[in-house]
Symmetry: C2
DNA sequence: CCCCAAATTCATGATTCGATCAATAACCAC
DNA sequence: GTGGTTATTGATCGAATCATGAATTTGGGG
C-alpha cells in the first residue's frame, strides 16, 4: 500500500509564516527568529534530500530525517505538514533554479550563434549547467541529482508539480534542435531527447556498476570524463536520427 | 531506516522442498501438490513483480502482495522466508533467462558476421532480445523491466546477486564492440555502454513524460518505434565516441 | 521587563508492518 | 481408508510508522 498520504492532508497547521522567502539559502548566518527557522528548515531538507536519494521516499521514515537533522519529528510536521510535503519541498527547492539556468544557457547560446545553432552547441548548452553544478555544487546538489534519477523511473514523475519546472527548459532545447536539424522529423527530436535524458540521468544516479564492469577504469561520477563524452555521443546520435528518411 | 532486513534472515523454515525446479513456469496446469505449490509461488511473484515495479520495494508491504495474490501473508514467509527473499526471487526468476538470451544473440551474431562485426550489428543483437520480450512477453516481463529500471538507479544495484546474471552479457557486448572499433579506447567503450544502458533503461521504465512533452506524438512504451531509433542512435554515437583522438 | 507569537520539544495514540506459531487443509504413498 | 508430509490459513505479538496536541522554549516589540 503505497500510502497516498496526500489524500487527507493534515492542513499544514503552520500559521501564517512570512511571505515564504527562499528556504534554500542555508549557509546564512543571520540572526533572528525567522532566519533561524529558515536555517532549520534547510537542515531538515538537506537531511531528507540525502536520505531520500539513497533509499527513496518509502525507504525513509520521518524519524530518520528528524534524527539526521537533529530535531524532533513533530517539527517536520510543523514545517512541512507531512512526509509528502517534505518530499515536495526537497524537489522544489532546487528544481526551479537548475531549470532556469538551463533555459538561460540555451537562450544565451541562441543569441551567440545568431540564429544558426549547431547540434553540438545546443546539446552542450543544455548539459553545461547540470554538470557545472554536479562538479561544484557540493554534496547537496549531488544528492538532489541522485534523487531525481531515482524518481525519474516512476510513473508519478511527469505529472507532479515538478513537471512545470522541468518542461520549459526541455521545450526550449527541442526548439533549438529543430532549428539545428530542419529536416528532422518532429517525433525523432523527442525520441532523441528521451535517449539523452536516460543517459544523463544514469550518469548522476548512484549506480556505480561501470566501475566494476570496467575493472576500475571508469568511475561513475567522474563528471569531467562524462560531460565531453556525453556531448559527443548525443551530437552524433542526434545527427543520425535527424537524417532518417 | 532502510531496514537491512537481510541481516537476520529467519532461516527460511521451508523444509526440504524438491530440487527447487524452475518456479517460473506459471501457466502450467499440471496437477499434484508440487505443481500447485509452484503455481502459487508464481502467483505470488507475479503480484510482487507488479507491485514492486510500481512502488519500489519499500512502497509495498507483504500484506499488499498477499492480498493481490489472494493468499495469506504467512504463506509468503513460508515460501520466501522474508520480504527480501520475495524481492530477490522476483529478480532472479527472469534475470537469468533474459541475459542468456542476450549472450546467445551476441554469439549468434559473432558467428554470422564471421569475425567482422559492425557496430550496428552488435548493438542490434544486444537489444533485440529485450525488445522482443517487451513486445511479446506479456505484462509480466514489462513489470519486470520497469522494476529493473527502478532498481537501476540505486546504489545497491551492481553489487547484488543480480550482478552475476547481467554482467556476462555486457562483457560479451563490449568484446564484440572492441572488434568492431579496434581503434577505440577501452574506457570509451564502457562509457558508451553506460549511455546506451541509460537510454534503454528509461525506455522501459514507467516514465511517460515524453507523451506530454511531445503532445501525444510519442508514447513511452511504443517499442516498435523505439527499437530502430535506439539502434540508430547508439550506432552513430558509438562510432563518434570510438573516433576520439 | 513583559508578553505574544513563532519555533521547538515531549508525550502519546492509532495504525500498519514484518514476522511467528499453532492449527487446518490438501495431497500422496501405502 | 489411514498416516505422514507439504501447503496454506488464522490469530497474534512486538516494533516501527505517521500523526496530533499539549507543554516548553525562544526571540522580538511595546
Amino acid at each position: 500500500m503505497p500510502k497516498p498520504s496526500a489524500t487527507k492532508k493534515p492542513a499544514a497547521k503552520r500559521p501564517q509564516k512570512p511571505p515564504r522567502r527562499g528556504v534554500a539559502d542555508a549557509a546564512q548566518v543571520a540572526s533572528g527568529k525567522a532566519a533561524r527557522s529558515r536555517r532549520t528548515q534547510a537542515r531538515i531538507l538537506d537531511a531528507a534530500e540525502e536520505l531520500f536519494s539513497h533509499h527513496g521516499i518509502y525507504g525513509v521514515s520521518i524519524r530518520d530525517i528528524a534524527d539526521a537533522a537533529g530535531v524532533d519529528t513533530a517539527l517536520l510536521h510543523y514545517h512541512f505538514a507531512n512526509k509528502d510535503g517534505i518530499y515536495e519541498a526537497v524537489l522544489l527547492r532546487r528544481a526551479g533554479e537548475i531549470n532556469t539556468a538551463r533555459t538561460r544557457s540555451l537562450d544565451d547560446y541562441a543569441l551567440a550563434c545568431a540564429g544558426k545553432p549547431s547540434i553540438e552547441g545546443v546539446v552542450r548548452a543544455y548539459l553545461q549547467p547540470v554538470f557545472e553544478r554536479l562538479r561544484n555544487g557540493g554534496r547537496g546538489f549531488n544528492n538532489f541529482a541522485a534523487l531525481i534519477a531515482l524518481a525519474n523511473n516512476t510513473e508519478l514523475w511527469g505529472g507532479g508539480t515538478v513537471k512545470e519546472y522541468f518542461d520549459p527548459s526541455v521545450q526550449r532545447l527541442i526548439e533549438l534542435l529543430r532549428l539545428a536539424m530542419p529536416k528532422a522529423r518532429e517525433a525523432d527530436l523527442y525520441w532523441g531527447y528521451q535517449f539523452l535524458s536516460g543517459a544523463l540521468t544514469l550518469s548522476y544516479s548512484r549506480n556505480d556498476r561501470i566501475k566494476w564492469l570496467s575493472h576500475g577504469q571508469c568511475r561513475a561520477n567522474d563528471y569531467a570524463a562524462i560531460e565531453p563524452r556525453l556531448v559527443e555521443w548525443c551530437t552524433a546520435a542526434f545527427r543520425a536520427l535527424g537524417a532518417r528518411r
